[in-house]
């Protein structure tokens, strides 16, 4: 126990001295057990004030300090530096908050001084029981794993790699590009989506510091900030990447035609394929699920025979790789609510009821119709289209309670592009509210609204009835107060954005939280939007919540800058005020393990062990410990009990 405590009482001008009798307080403090020196000063936080503390430490050979002043949130760092420079361990400083929680809130009566004295006494009792603590230094692996090869993942990977750090970009599918690659044009500028994405894809694929893992998944994450070990499982492509020249000779040879995922089933592909002409890497993929060779027996090898460079390898096996990384960026993107969800809109599974992403493929020059809008049932050019917004969004009862953010805009874009392609076509947009809150967005919607032949109808659609090759849309115009029935050739549902499949498993593996809708949870909705609740793991793009391309890119750049901020240090310096186990007392009951919010405690050979980089010192484990074997440094039981004794009497 330290018995050479110095107490320094600040007047804070008149802020404290107005209501607290500082002189009485000093006298009281000087008489407390363990106090070697007590002094007051006008402004302790000023340079002369700090100098005073330093001098007294040296003169009086103090080994712990109590500063009675303002809130510790304001000047802890100031006074820690001051005592440290005088040779006292900074964690032997205690602050008694006699301003915010005493002099400012109570009148100038004896009772206020009385309270201040109690707070000082409490501080002294704690200070006497402090131990010297050293900050924890942790090495830092300056490499990143970015999970998800869409525009968010690409942006984050490029930003980090440009700063000079190696990046592993892990993509589940056979190629990069994500959702953005599927889009035709982007709102509100009508830039061609693949034209602006392709250069980025090429850049990331050629970057010497970026390693791209396609057909790959992260199956396990160990470790913590600065030192993650990420297990990447690589699915076989059955095409040797180095060998494939992308000539495509294998494709006509393949006898198996299947609906392609990239075209949302509106376009076909072979069992050996490349999803789209700009794909990166430009390597073909053999889809064994649809290949004729289902067993180990290879009988149809027509693709292999057609392949001049002999790049097809039916014997490829899954492989695993363990990657060291200091940070992880999750950019797993989004999906849309499946059309089968909407039983009232397509109970007969009408081919001409499609979702917005399918319509993007119909509009896309690289799509199945080369950009000509044709409806799936009979390939005719639709003469009328109904767009149904909020299909599953803003529908807490049967869909998702949230607004999907992008549907108002892409529906307006769809209407405009269709109208340009089919000038005599009729468009009916059924909406509830138009949400166009981006730069140039409202202007874009206004432009679409002004088009002749595009009708915005305020009201939700209850049902679609197939009728004589058309679809009868049952809607309402809530502004007119009349029911609306229109027969159209094609119905496009603006389906709600949902997190990608598999995100729950990834969240479990990476130990990040997900919200009630399945999106990844940010650390703070306003102030820490790109950080997950797990340190060292950052979020980018629609994995965290619905957003459009520009917001996704900004979010990803934000995540990258957080990673770079982390990497700007030589090593991680962690506060030492974390939990500590007295191994002699620990009985290995594991109660602490179950209460720790950070999975920072584990049992090794029957004794609790604290991972110093995961522990954040909340102290939740301590009350759970029956053996009193566990306590957070700086807030240990004996310190708090001494404070209680000092305060309660």
């Amino acid at each position: 126990m330290n018995n050479r405590v110095g107490v320094f009482i600040c007047h804070c001008g008149k802020n404290i001295a107005r209501t607290v009798d500082v002189e009485a307080l000093r006298k009281e403090a000087a008489g407390l057990p363990g106090v070697e020196w007590a002094e007051d000063d006008m402004y302790l936080c000023s340079d002369p004030g700090q100098q005073l503390i330093r001098e007294r430490i040296a003169e009086q050979n103090l080994d712990a300090v109590v500063v009675a002043a303002c809130s510790p949130t304001l000047h802890t760092t100031t006074f820690r530096r001051a005592v440290e420079s005088a040779g006292v361990n900074p964690f032997r400083l205690e602050i008694a908050n006699i301003r915010e929680q005493c002099s400012w809130v109570h009148p100038g009566t004896a009772e206020t001084t009385h309270k201040a004295a109690a707070l000082v006494r409490s501080g002294v009792e704690k200070a006497r029981r402090t131990q010297p603590l050293e900050p924890i230094h942790v090495g830092l692996q300056r490499a990143v794993v970015v999970i998800g090869g869409g525009v968010a993942g690409i942006q984050a990977a490029l930003d980090i790699a440009e700063a000079g750090y190696p990046v592993h970009l892990v993509e589940q599918g056979p190629n990069l590009g994500g959702r953005m690659a599927q889009l035709s044009e982007t709102f509100p500028t009508l830039d061609c989506s693949s034209c602006i994405l392709t250069p980025k894809m090429v850049e990331v694929s050629h970057h010497p510091l970026v390693t791209i893992h396609t057909l790959a998944e992260v199956t396990d994450v160990e470790g913590s900030i600065g030192n993650f070990q990420v297990r990447i499982r690589q699915q076989p492509r059955y095409v040797i990447a180095e060998g494939c020249t992308g000539c495509g000779d294998c494709v006509p040879a393949c006898p198996q035609v299947v609906p392609g995922e990239f075209d949302r089933g509106l376009g076909a592909r072979k069992a050996i394929y490349i999803p789209f002409p700009q794909a990166v890497p430009f390597t073909y993929t053999l889809d064994r699920e649809h290949c004729l060779n289902q067993g180990p027996l290879i009988i149809c090898d027509r693709c292999a025979q057609a392949c001049e460079p002999r790049a097809i390898d039916f014997d490829q096996q899954p492989s695993e790789e363990l990657v060291e990384a200091g940070a992880i960026v999750l950019a797993t993107g989004c999906d849309t609510l499946p059309l089968s969800h909407f039983r009232e809109y397509g109970h007969d599974r009408h081919p001409d009821v499609i979702d917005g992403l399918m319509f993007e493929r119909l509009l896309s020059a690289s799509g199945p119709t080369h950009g000509e809008i044709r409806r799936p049932s009979d390939h005719r050019v639709p003469k009328s289209i109904a767009f149904v917004q909020c299909a599953g969004s803003r529908d807490p009862e049967r869909g998702k309670a949230y607004c999907s953010q992008i549907c108002c805009m892409y529906t307006a874009k769809h209407a405009l592009l269709y109208h340009h392609a089919v000038p005599d076509g009729k468009v009916y947009i059924f909406y509830i509210d138009i949400r166009a809150g981006g730069k140039g967005y409202e202007e874009f919607v206004e432009r679409v609204r002004a088009e002749d032949g595009i009708n915005y109808i305020r009201g939700k659609v209850a049902k679609l009835i197939p009728k004589d090759g058309k679809l009868e849309v049952w809607g309402v115009d809530t502004l007119l107060g009349e029911q609306v029935k229109v027969e159209v050739d094609l119905v496009v549902l603006a389906t709600a954005l949902v997190p990608s499949q598999g995100i729950q498993e990834l969240a479990r593996v990476a130990r990040v939280a997900i919200d009630g809708d399945g999106f990844l949870s940010e650390a703070h909705p306003k102030l820490r939007p790109v950080e997950s609740q797990t340190r060292g793991i950052y979020l980018a793009g629609t994995a965290q919540g619905p957003r459009d391309i520009s917001a996704t890119v900004a979010h990803a750049a934000g995540a990258a800058s957080k990673v770079l901020g982390l990497f700007s240090h030589d090593e991680l310096v962690e506060e030492p005020t974390i939990a500590r186990v007295n191994e002699a007392l620990c009985r290995g009951c594991s109660f602490c393990v179950s209460v720790c919010p950070y999975d920072a405690i584990s049992l090794h050979e029957g004794t609790a062990h604290v991972n110093e980089t995961l522990c954040r010192g909340c102290g939740a484990c301590t009350p759970a410990c029956f053996a009193a074997a566990l306590g957070p440094r700086g807030f240990e039981d004996d310190q708090i009990l001494a404070q209680i004794r000092a305060l309660a009497c």
Binding site: V257, P259, E261
Partner: protein, 102 residues
């Protein structure tokens, strides 16, 4: 009604030519093991009504499925008696389309 996500007929099927083949059966070599009929991925083979000289039924093409052969070569690969083979016709866009797979 399929629950498969992508159940619509792709709009560009005709753009995806499928290699075509012509199955040739050497009936007299066949000893009726059924492997070719069993393995044909487009189910275009069935038993003949009559018997060959050895007294076996042999594979014949299902009526109406003459054009179904995708020249995969399964039948000739599995035939233990070299009694069936496929002549490959070059894929052509107008060869017609038949979507296979699930």
């Amino acid at each position: 009604m399929t629950e498969h996500t992508y159940w619509r007929t792709p709009l560009d099927l005709e753009r995806w030519p499928i290699p075509r083949g012509q199955v040739v059966v050497l009936a007299e070599r066949c000893k009726g093991c059924e492997l070719c009929i069993e393995h044909c991925p487009v189910q275009m083979l069935t038993w003949s009504a009559d018997y060959n000289a050895k007294g076996y039924r042999y594979p014949v093409i299902v009526a109406g499925r003459e054009e179904a052969c995708i020249a995969c070569g399964y039948c000739q690969s599995v035939c233990p008696d070299f009694a069936i083979y496929v002549e490959i016709r070059l894929p052509s866009p107008e060869a017609g389309s038949c979507m296979t797979g699930s």
